[in-house]
Symmetry: C2
Subunit: 244 residues, 2 copies
DNA sequence: TTTTGAAAAATCATCGATTATTTGTCAAGC
DNA sequence: GCTTGACAAATAATCGATGATTTTTCAAAA
């Protein structure tokens, strides 16, 4: 399952950062490029708003034109790349209004998906939630060590996706993944230090505990607050860097 | 870049061989293909679940491989096409569970977008809503004349999109468009006659009236019911044709 | 100085051919 | 009869070259 009705997102999967393993379903150059390009954009290596010159990209990724164009075309659905006829591809720009929309939609979509998960999720899903929480709590996040930030981002993303993974709505999940991707780009670009006035660990624990207890209102309220606080935080950092 | 007021415009309009293309931003073969393929899938010309043979598609659309692959890659984001490495593209299959998810997400997304539109939409948006309603009411829908069904589908789609077009949330709007596309494929494939126990015109009018009156709860409730009824209707038709 | 427009350069889009992979066929072996 | 594996056919993926469009350059004209 590469992509499909359930994945408008092209398979970012659990570990897009993984080096090329022979058979992880990414057999073609185009598919590998999708992962590599997505990671390059989310991590900020490819600057927001910048034009993607096909000749240069061809060289820097050591690929030919056909798979490169195909990969970029697929990435449009992630909202990470924009396209215009005869003017080529560019990295989607960042803006305050874009961040605000992402935050709003995450609040709506993820709380809806969480509610659905609590309604129809099975025991295995509950277990996955607790495991994801545990991993997250055990993962260090030290601004002095960049590699821990990368690792933390991956585990954090996995936690939020696991929370809503029980909802049995593949289209909804793909939308949530897309929003999470977009959101993570802002965090990885603008939020290198964690905000002092929050205990994010406690927030995650409350969400997870409420979730496995199937306390819909409590869990969804905590999740919504959590997303909202992150949005507020990011907005401040954007403002500091003078981004409108 | 348009010519200035005083400049001489040399019309190259003697070109009788080709109709001059209106500049709707669909200048490339790939972009035109996206539209043509999308229409072919939504209308059912390309059967749900069927494999898309590149050689045959190349011939039947009179195009080369590169723009065809690029167009298909872009269509993945619409949820209308699936892809698997080395196995190519196929038209997304239809299923009861898929239809149910689409209906649920339309209820959630469109009511949210409608509420937002009522909150921040301007007068021009209100006018657009009333105009779209009027057009819809004036468009005939006769099962005996297939061309009226096509026309009605277009106007109906436009009405629903106009309703939520005031929300100022471009990502949300694109998600709604995607869901509407998927939904329309079900309707155009399975629902050739209109259900007798509904007065769809009244439903649309109530939604529009409530909307311009900014009665959020009323308008959203009517919209949700409207979407839900359509879903129930379609579900019955799918069941009749034995689709799981 | 600013504007204009044609030529040059850069870049994007498309094509036909080649390579790689999957799928279908069929006879040998169990 | 059923499986197996080599071979052939069909199909997908990639490449290098060519055609089309956009952008830049720069000198002449206003």
């Amino acid at each position: 399952m590469q992509s499909g009705p359930g994945s408008l997102i092209l398979e970012s999967g659990a570990d897009a950062a993984m080096p090329s393993f022979p058979d992880d379903g990414k057999n073609t150059i185009a598919s590998q490029l999708v992962s590599r390009l997505r990671e390059a954009i989310i991590s900020g290596q490819l600057e927001a708003g910048s034009k993607i010159n096909l000749d240069r990209a061809k060289q820097s990724f050591n690929v030919s034109l056909s798979p490169l164009r195909e990969a970029l075309a697929r990435l449009i659905s992630d909202g990470l790349v924009e396209f215009e006829d005869n003017r080529g591809y560019r990295v989607s720009p960042v803006s305050l209004s874009n961040l605000e929309e992402i935050t709003s939609l995450r609040e709506e979509f993820e709380t809806y998906a969480l509610r659905e998960s609590m309604r129809v999720g099975d025991v295995e899903w509950e277990g996955n939630v607790m495991r994801a929480l545990h991993r997250l709590n055990r993962t260090e996040r030290d601004a002095a060590k960049p590699e821990t930030l990368e690792q933390w981002e991956a585990v954090h993303r996995e936690f939020h996706l696991t929370l809503i993974s029980g909802c049995r709505k593949p289209l909804l999940l793909s939308f949530c993944k897309t929003m999470l991707n977009l959101n993570d780009r802002y965090r990885r670009t603008f939020l290198t230090r964690t905000s002092g006035d929050r205990n994010v660990s406690v927030e995650h624990s409350e969400i997870a505990q409420g979730t496995v207890a199937r306390d819909m209102d409590y869990a969804c309220d905590r999740l919504r607050e959590h997303i909202h606080r992150t949005g507020t935080n990011l907005r401040r950092h954007l403002a500091e860097k003078g981004i409108a």
